[in-house]
Symmetry: C2
Subunit: 185 residues, 2 copies
């Protein structure tokens, strides 16, 4: 077997970039081929089920990245609450590159032919909510308060990403993150 031109992680990172910016229908295999440096047939070799598998793999990859980096930072018992929060928020900034990157869950939530990815997107969003609920509970919020704050935090993240993008104003995302930090301090 010939060696891989790009390894799995590099490949998934490139695929993520395109799907995140273009959405599912807006992404063409040709564009994925150009950005990854792999010819179309090679992409189909890596993902035998085609475009759907490519997008599904991106969702899986990002889901794992978020769990390993963001959620893990929030629950790392070696750190103080303050440090956990700080580290987690740092990784959130990284994920969205300070508001420049759209959320992949949002980007793939609109596509044709019924709900190709609805289940994984719903699962991913629930994991985000659960992570912030746990963060709130560890700060001795009541269960109800922890739930309310978690939902509002996700609203803030998603909404501020959209406003930052449509208004070309990254400070909206940044000040929203600060507000979230205050909510959990």
């Amino acid at each position: 077997m010939r060696p891989q031109k790009v390894n799995d992680e590099e490949l998934l990172i490139s695929l993520t970039k395109v799907f995140r910016e273009r959405g599912y229908e807006g992404t063409s295999i040709k564009e994925l081929s150009d950005l990854t440096g792999l010819k179309k047939a090679s992409l189909y070799h890596r993902f035998p089920n085609g475009k759907q598998e490519m997008a599904a793999s991106v969702l899986e990859y990002i889901g794992k990245w978020v769990a390993d980096n963001i959620f893990h930072a929030f629950t790392n018992e070696a750190d103080t609450y303050k440090t956990r929060l700080k580290n987690g928020m740092f990784q959130i900034r990284k994920l969205y590159e300070g508001g420049k990157n759209p959320c992949i869950l949002k980007a793939l939530s609109t596509q044709n032919g019924m709900e190709l990815f609805h289940q994984s997107i719903s699962k991913g969003m629930k994991e985000w909510v659960a992570a912030f609920i746990n963060l709130g509970l560890s700060m001795e919020f009541t269960k109800q308060m922890a739930e309310e704050k978690a939902i509002q935090t996700l609203i803030d993240i998603q909404g501020s990403l959209i406003l930052s993008k449509t208004l070309d104003n990254a400070t909206i995302f940044e000040s929203t993150l600060k507000k979230i930090e205050n909510r959990y301090s």
Copy 2:
């Protein structure tokens, strides 16, 4: 000339439904033809510049609807502040059908080939912000507070629409609207 099968407003309403759910790239002329009841060639007769003009017309139509119904309600000097707020929020519920409809600005904000609609989307979003700033100013908020609350209100609307959709939970949108009402009461 033969009579129109569907008038301009009916036509735009149907086009809106598809673009809002599918996005620009996800929408096919065939699907627009099926839903409107007009054959493809007839759609091109109504919109000589094709799909781009169809989507641009949808943005224009919704922009006008929002100005005439929502923003107008907020500034209707015949009403008390309380009534203005109540009427405006009622129209917002109607626009998004209680959280079931995606925002057309969001739906069209992701598309190929550079920024086809970025300018109108940005303009539309700025009008929303300005409307809530004015609402705040009319309630004697300071300029800074009015701006902050307006931005947060738009974040809340956009974010809660996304969460309602991805989590299949319309109550998120509804309780967010209640929260906004409290913010301006």
